[in-house]
């Protein structure tokens, strides 16, 4: 009996012990879980499940994360590069402080990304691919950068795409108008927010046909790299197929050409009725100014299919009055989009001028990235990529947009603007009038039409 009692007692005590141990263990577990942040918990789970990849998890271990921004601060695209940089800087400031505008785009953002403050490693790419790739590589190695961005030349964007895929670090394209960036040179680790050659062509094409009619002779000025060739092809294809326009000459020039006179003479002698200038940055400014000096703008209509930040103010003399262009953003869109108004106000307050589309693209692409990381709950790159690839409709400065999972291109509206004559300008920055807003869906080619194969996650 005693033995039985003792046996029961010992069995009870063992049961009690096990129970209490289980309760205590669960309690300790719960306590330990509650003592770490949700991010760390998810990270630990992710780390337990996934081997390190790229700069993850090293790059996001501390209280600060680094992003690499390589942007042209010298050369033919320097002016546009500085504007982009301001957009990124403002986005970082807003993310770090949990600004109201940023939280409208990324509701889960409090301060920083998953509670970590962002610091930027800024370098001058000079719009040269090798310079940009070296700078990004250094930021990956030395700062364990968790994200790369910056380009004002698609040649840089394509090179950075390849680096991002090789190093397994996300790359958000800056200004990049080539079809190839999310076409044949697309990568799993690359994303692009802004409009590009094909969408520009499909947006501005109908406007040109409506304005100038059918069967026109057109001359192109094309910078000699991926952006120039793909934009020229898209615009040419649209106008020849849909309106019977004929290309009479295509003047291809190197990026940063110091003089356009010989190209302009060819155009002057070509019999063209419309001059479609695909040049960009300072090349566009110079070629338009020189075209006017050769009397070409009196003889033919000028079109800028891919609008250039600061073009109107740099070209001056009202040369862009009546000129049509396709663009990602113009500040007067604030009348239509409340978030654009908030962005403009914050930008003007900090920098003293209205943002151009380079700054808009920079800001919103960072805001979208912050949202995706918050939604994923981890910096683990494949998880962030898969969050983008859900293709959810998300807010932007110009209404709702979404990223296509097949090519990582943002489906977003394109705006057609028309240059104002100086007497029509209501203030010194009122260069363009937004004449049409075209939804992105109908402007884009099928995701595989330009040969996009995204590649692996790991």
């Amino acid at each position: 009996m005693t033995d039985r009692k003792s046996s029961i007692s010992s069995s009870l005590s063992r049961r009690a012990l096990l129970r209490s141990a289980a309760v205590t263990g669960a309690g300790i577990g719960a306590m330990s879980i509650s003592s770490i942040s949700g991010f760390e918990f998810v990270s630990r789970v992710a780390a337990a499940e996934n081997p390190p990849i790229g700069t993850w998890p090293e790059g996001s271990k501390g209280s600060t994360i680094y992003v690499s921004i390589s942007v042209p601060r010298t050369g033919a695209y320097a002016v546009q590069g500085e504007d982009e940089l301001k957009g990124w800087e403002l986005a970082i400031e807003h993310i770090n402080e949990g600004h109201e505008l940023l939280r409208k785009i990324s509701p889960k953002t409090k301060k920083g990304v998953l509670g970590k403050q962002i610091k930027a490693v800024v370098t001058d790419s000079g719009a040269k691919p090798n310079q940009a790739v070296q700078a990004h590589q250094r930021a990956i190695t030395e700062n364990k950068a968790v994200m790369l961005t910056g380009s004002t030349s698609s040649a840089v964007a394509v090179a950075a795409n390849k680096l991002a895929q090789r190093e397994h670090v996300l790359y958000l394209a800056g200004i990049s108008g080539s079809n190839d960036t999310t076409g044949k040179d697309c990568v799993r680790y690359g994303f692009r927010q802004n409009f590009y050659g094909e969408t520009a062509a499909n947006a501005i094409g109908p406007v040109l046909v409506k304005q100038f009619g059918k069967n026109k002779k057109m001359a192109f000025m094309t910078p000699d790299y991926t952006y120039g060739h793909t934009v020229t092809k898209s615009v040419n294809d649209y106008l020849t197929k849909n309106a019977g326009w004929t290309q009479v000459t295509n003047q291809v020039s190197p990026l940063g050409a110091p003089d356009f006179s010989s190209y302009l003479l060819n155009i002057a002698n070509s019999g063209a009725e419309v001059l479609i200038n695909v040049n960009w940055g300072r090349d566009a400014v110079l070629s338009i100014q020189q075209a006017q000096k050769f009397g070409i703008l009196d003889k033919m209509k000028l079109v800028v299919p891919y609008q250039i930040p600061f073009l109107a103010r740099e070209v001056g003399n009202g040369l862009l009055a009546g000129v049509y262009a396709a663009t990602d953003y113009w500040w007067t869109l604030e009348d239509k989009y409340p978030l654009a108004k908030m962005f403009n106000e914050a930008f003007v307050k900090k920098y003293g001028y209205h943002p151009e589309w380079g700054a808009e693209n920079a800001y919103i692409s960072f805001a979208h990235w912050a949202r995706m990381v918050e939604e994923a709950g981890t910096f683990y790159p494949p998880a962030v990529i898969k969050t983008y690839e859900k293709g959810e409709t998300i807010p932007s400065l110009v209404g709702d947009v979404k990223y296509r999972p097949e090519d990582h291109q943002c489906v977003r509206p394109v705006f057609i603007v028309k240059g104002k004559a100086p007497k029509e300008m209501k203030n010194k920055e009122d260069f363009w009038e937004v004449v049409e807003t075209i939804p992105g869906e109908g402007l884009m080619q099928k995701p595989d039409a330009f040969g996009c194969k995204l590649g692996d996650y790991t």
Binding site: S253, G256, P258, S261, A268, K293, G295, E314
Partner: protein, 291 residues
């Protein structure tokens, strides 16, 4: 776009482009010929001339004052640069000279960028030369036509200084054999300073007279520097007439090639340089053995 009208137009345009290249290259070549210093800051001096003239124009509204200020300011910069930095590098290896002039060029560009920003600035052509002139076979900007005359006068003045004055004689002697000039009791270092100033002035003058043609930006000297080197190599290092001939050849190559295929305009320029280097390594009018 090959037809007779376009050929004549492009040939004429090549002359205008070539004249500008000739003027800038002549400054580079006399500096290298006399001092043996390959001045990588020559493009930046071209840019400085543009900005100095731009500032002067904004204050005075006079294009003539702008040209004078642009040329003289860069000459002054050249003299100071030679006295303070370059003279310490005469006996140093060529790579040191390249590095120091390259460094100076970066400083100049960034200083200008700091004060003026990257946005391009314009200097309007004088009213008398504004507008377009009909040449029968084409319309051509009047100022570009005037530019040929302006540069021709500048090159003539440079020619007279180099070939019709005692200083010019010493400079040319220095180009051939600076050691001999020194041993004749001539203060060759003072001459060096003068040569550097004249060479810089040629670049500065070109910078401001070219400003109404192309808007000025801090890095406008970069691309022109490369072309200038090509001109000097084609014409012959140290040869003033070589720089003029080389400039005109380069201008014609760029212009005429663009008539056939614009994408190859600059490729052909480098191809021409390669051919000259293979067939005549010292350039068309250069002298074998000249350093």
């Amino acid at each position: 776009m090959i037809n007779w009208a376009n050929f004549v137009s492009q040939a004429f345009n090549g002359l205008v482009l070539g004249a500008l290249l000739a003027l800038i290259s002549s400054g580079l070549t006399i500096i290298y010929g006399t001092l043996g210093v390959l001045n990588l800051a020559h493009g930046a001096m071209f840019m400085l001339g543009g900005y100095a003239g731009y500032v002067a124009y904004n204050y005075t509204g006079s294009f003539i004052v702008a040209v004078a200020v642009g040329a003289l300011f860069v000459m002054l910069v050249g003299v100071v640069m030679e006295r303070v930095i370059i003279r310490h590098f005469y006996s140093r290896p060529p790579e040191d000279q390249l590095l120091v002039t390259f460094g100076i060029s970066i400083c100049m560009v960034e200083i200008v960028r700091f004060f003026f920003g990257s946005l391009s600035q314009t200097v309007p052509a004088p009213a008398v030369f504004s507008g377009i002139t009909s040449l029968g076979f084409m319309f051509y900007p009047t100022y570009r036509l005037a530019l040929v005359g302006i540069i021709a006068i500048a090159l003539l003045v440079l020619f007279l200084v180099l070939y019709r004055t005692r200083i010019g004689m010493i400079v040319r002697a220095g180009i051939e054999d600076s050691l001999m000039v020194d041993s004749l009791g001539i203060n060759v270092y003072r001459i060096f300073m003068l040569v550097f100033g004249i060479g810089a002035m040629a670049a500065g003058f070109a910078g401001i007279v070219n400003a109404p043609v192309v808007s000025i930006t801090p890095d406008m000297g970069e691309s022109i520097l490369v072309q200038t080197f090509v001109v000097v190599v084609i014409g012959g290092v140290g040869s003033f007439p070589g720089a003029v001939i080389g400039g005109l050849i380069a201008g014609e190559i760029i212009s005429l090639t663009s008539m056939v295929n614009p994408g190859y305009a600059y490729v052909m320029l480098f191809a021409a340089m390669t051919v000259v280097l293979v067939l005549r390594p010292y350039g068309l009018l250069g002298t074998q053995g000249r350093e």
